[in-house]
Amino acid sequence: MPRPSPFHPRTAPLCEALRWKDWAGYAAVCSYTTYMEREYFAFRHAAGLIDVTPLCKYEVRGARAGEYLAWLMVRDVTRLKPNQVAYTCWCDEHGKIVDDGTVWRLDDDWYRVTAAEPSLAWLSRFAADFDVTVTDVGDRIAALSLQGPRSRAILQQVGDADLDALRFFYLARTRIGAAEVIVTRTGYTGDLGYEVWVDNEDALAVWDALYDAGRPHGLAPAGLDAMDVARIEAGFIMNGVDYYSAPHCLIESRKNTPYELDLGWLVHLDRPDFLGQAALRREAETGPAEKLVCLEYDWDDYERLFARHGLPPEVCPYAWRDPRPVFDVFGNQVGYATSGAWSPTMKRNLALALVRPEMADRGSRLKIEVMVEYVRRKCLATVVEKPVFRDPRTRSLPQHESV
């Protein structure tokens, strides 16, 4: 049975629709009302507040903590400045991805790692060799993600951190009321946003402060359904949906490399040894076997498929994650889509798909399976630039912004 997060006393009464699911053992809200639309639009126009406590969190301490993490991760985290955060992934010795998450440098000998899956064993496998200790702090630290164009204004009202100076993927140690918190400028929506990390005991006070300050800014409590649509627009992949952790795969073909998942930009090859380096170097030369792309359904074709049955086109009202085959224009399967969503902002029907590399260029014309009236059909689709949602506010500092 899923357990309640420290925010449960606040989220439960707000969740009118009683739509919950199990997220890493916690009861997590899918949507607060019957339709998640309002929550999605809060992310894009005001601010959405989402409980992300179930993320796995680890502390890595020791004089050689940075060196150790640089060895574990594909990204050279020794380059991190104090208070900087990096998005990264990590691989097994064959260069197959294990998980993705963030690494924060809190101090010279003190780092934090967030992961999608329980990773204590993986992260501590070689810790002793580096005199590093890895501690699971997942159950001690609660987390809220505040995402949307108003998130900065709201946080500014409750905390004393200089948010105007807090850059994208940096953190600030600050207070909200009496509570000590860490604020990271991170998130999973592709929008301006922050995540607030707080000890369980202070969780409710932080929720209350953010919620009350946020209401005049149009803040809405948001659930996983809304975040799922936002993350697809933002082109973010999800462990367990768009790829699987290599140690959990029964067969080789299920495993993926960072290059396949369009995470090649994370891989810093030219540096001292790190896990998977040799395999990744080989793949950097030969090229990946498949590539993750964003597909956009051709709307006219989509409409036509429905019109054949006298139906108006229908789109799934939430993000889907049942895989669908992808074909070339002649109908030969060249890949598969792992998740997708109708983008309410771009008015486009999108899918994330892994396809043969020669088909992965922008503008490439493909087909994707669509079920219409119980019949499997193929709809034209085009490889489009990823991410589809992009806004300067996500990364900029206020003095450079126009509203």
């Binding site: 019957t34 639009f41 204004a153 005049p216 008015k347």
Partner: protein, 530 residues
């Protein structure tokens, strides 16, 4: 030598759409807008510091989804936030909220009629099928009956086929829609006045007709389309106000290379050798172009911009008879805090959609009665939205903007149209009093107010007689009859003068379709650089 392939008079959203499509096809285009801001009736202005009003139009429903995609408007800043619900308070303290949640809506309606609650789905199915058909009409140039040109026959056949595919039941329904009043049409499904009244108002918006006037059923469908176009989700607020629709289109047009000038009022269309050859600005500046496209309404275009000698009497007669009887006004408020409904306090979903003061059919008919004799309704129909609840960018935190669309306010005031300024504030008070009966604190919450009478709409926005749609959306002025029989295809009797605004098919509303279809017609007609 003319430097431009086309000059577009007017930077309303249709003129901009036309410009964007022409520029996208490589044409050299110049848009000339009279005001300092773009958008015409789809405009956002910070009327009071910190408060951005959607001064005229306030919800986006009919904007064609393919235009959003083809011009990539989202990348140019267009974001539409859906309206959550439709709310009506009644004088007896009851209220009705219809939302996207079908079960909740059913429960709400069942409070008035259990039968109506169940019939709503059948009604939706019928109207969805109908609007699927009407969509064909809207997304294509008007058919020209009687023409034997192959392309037009093809059009006719397609529509004929679409109509046939509707099946006999819906063919009847279509005929009924074309001829019935909104109330008669709704009577076929529903029994409760409380439900029918707010539904019927879609049939009269922007017309000088009552909910019991024949022909209003069709207008109801026209509006309903945006609402049930569910999958496209194009019914909502534009972030930053409706002006953002125009700004996004302007952004696209500029990206394709169109030139846009504001504060450049056009005084007249230059005619040389019997064809449009450019424009003269009010400043006296002359600019030549191969084509002149007017975004203005048919009266402005044919009776003001061009010397009447260039048109024959029959055409002029039709244009003079073309009905532009403005019947609505607008009140925009800057609010210190969110007012509440006495019957349903709080800031629940009912506040985040559109709110109608349309408590009964008789109320609406009475409102119309007064208008017939040149008075504004003493208790008008109001359509209220509070966009700041879902789009905090339009008001300071905790403060709000409220947009109130008001009908009836006849342009032909009993004391003459020019008397409207004297009645403006009293008209504004009537509106506030009407809403205040349901929202007791409203008056105290108002920081600033802007009152627009039909006279103001004409003076400030160039809308003849204050008609919000460049001419009524009544049946005799739609499709192949808009704006005049034989001239519904964006061409005009003056060669190289085109019409691209809401006075052309398929009509008014933030739709973009006249602008798009005009551009596409021009491009088709001109092989190379015509």
């Amino acid at each position: 030598m003319s430097q431009y392939d086309a000059i577009i008079i007017g930077g309303g959203h249709n003129g901009l759409t036309c410009a964007a499509y022409l520029a996208r096809a490589g044409r050299k285009v110049l848009v000339l807008e009279r005001r300092h801001v773009l958008g015409g009736a789809a405009v956002s202005e910070e009327v009071f510091p910190g408060f951005t009003f959607s001064v005229c139009s306030y919800v986006v429903s009919l904007l064609r989804p393919h235009i959003i995609r083809e011009l990539d408007l989202a990348r140019h800043g267009l974001q539409i936030i859906p309206l959550e619900s439709s709310f009506v308070p009644y004088p007896d303290g009851r209220s009705l909220n219809r939302s996207a949640d079908p079960q909740e809506t059913r429960r709400e309606i069942a409070g008035f009629s259990a039968r109506d609650a169940e019939r709503l789905d059948e009604f939706r199915v019928a109207l969805t099928r109908m609007s699927h058909f009407v969509k064909n009409v809207i997304d294509n140039p008007a058919a020209a009956p009687g023409s034997l040109r192959p392309a037009e026959l093809w059009q006719q056949l397609r529509l004929g086929k679409a109509l046939k595919e509707l099946g006999p039941d819906l063919q009847h329904l279509h005929m009924q829609l074309l001829t019935m009043s909104a109330v008669d049409f709704l009577d076929m499904w529903f029994e409760s006045d409380q439900l029918k009244a707010p539904m019927a108002v879609s049939g009269i918006i922007g017309t000088y007709l009552g909910v019991r006037s024949p022909g209003t059923a069709y207008v109801l469908l026209h509006h309903y389309m945006g609402e049930i176009d569910g999958a496209f989700r194009s019914w909502g607020f534009a972030r930053g106000g409706t002006g953002q629709v125009s700004n996004a289109i302007a952004g696209a047009a500029r990206r394709y290379g169109a030139e846009i000038r504001t504060e450049a009022p056009v005084a007249e269309v230059l005619v040389r050798d019997g064809q449009a050859a450019g424009v003269v600005l009010a400043s006296g500046e002359e600019i030549l172009a191969r084509n002149v496209v007017s975004n203005l309404d048919p009266h402005q275009t044919f009776l003001k911009m061009v010397d009447p000698r260039h048109f024959d009497g029959d055409f002029l007669g039709q244009i003079r008879r073309y009905k532009l009887r403005g019947s609505s006004g607008k009140v925009n408020l800057a609010l210190d805090r969110l007012p509440e409904f006495a019957c349903r306090p709080g800031d629940g979903p009912h506040m985040r959609g559109d709110i109608a003061i349309a408590p009964s059919i008789d109320y609406l008919e009475k409102a119309y009665d007064e208008a017939k004799y040149g008075q504004y309704s003493s208790r008008p129909y109001l359509n209220v939205v509070i966009p700041s609840l879902v789009d905090p960018s339009v008001a300071p935190p905790g403060k709000h903007v409220m947009s109130i669309f008001v009908q009836y306010a006849p342009y032909q005031h009993a004391d003459g149209p020019a008397a409207w300024p004297e009645h403006r504030e009293a008209f504004g008070d009537t509106v506030i009093d009407t809403l205040g009966e349901y929202m007791p604190t409203l008056k105290d919450d108002i920081l600033h107010r802007q009152v627009l009478t039909p006279w103001d709409l004409e003076q400030q926005f160039g809308l003849t007689e204050g008609n919000i749609f460049h001419g009524e959306l009544s049946l005799e002025q739609l499709a192949f009859l808009r704006p005049a029989a034989g001239w519904a295809r964006y061409r005009t009797p003056l060669r190289r003068l085109w019409l691209c605004g809401s006075g052309a098919h398929p009509g008014g509303g933030i739709m973009g379709a006249p602008g798009e279809l005009c551009a596409k017609t021009m491009l088709k007609g001109s092989q190379g650089r015509g």
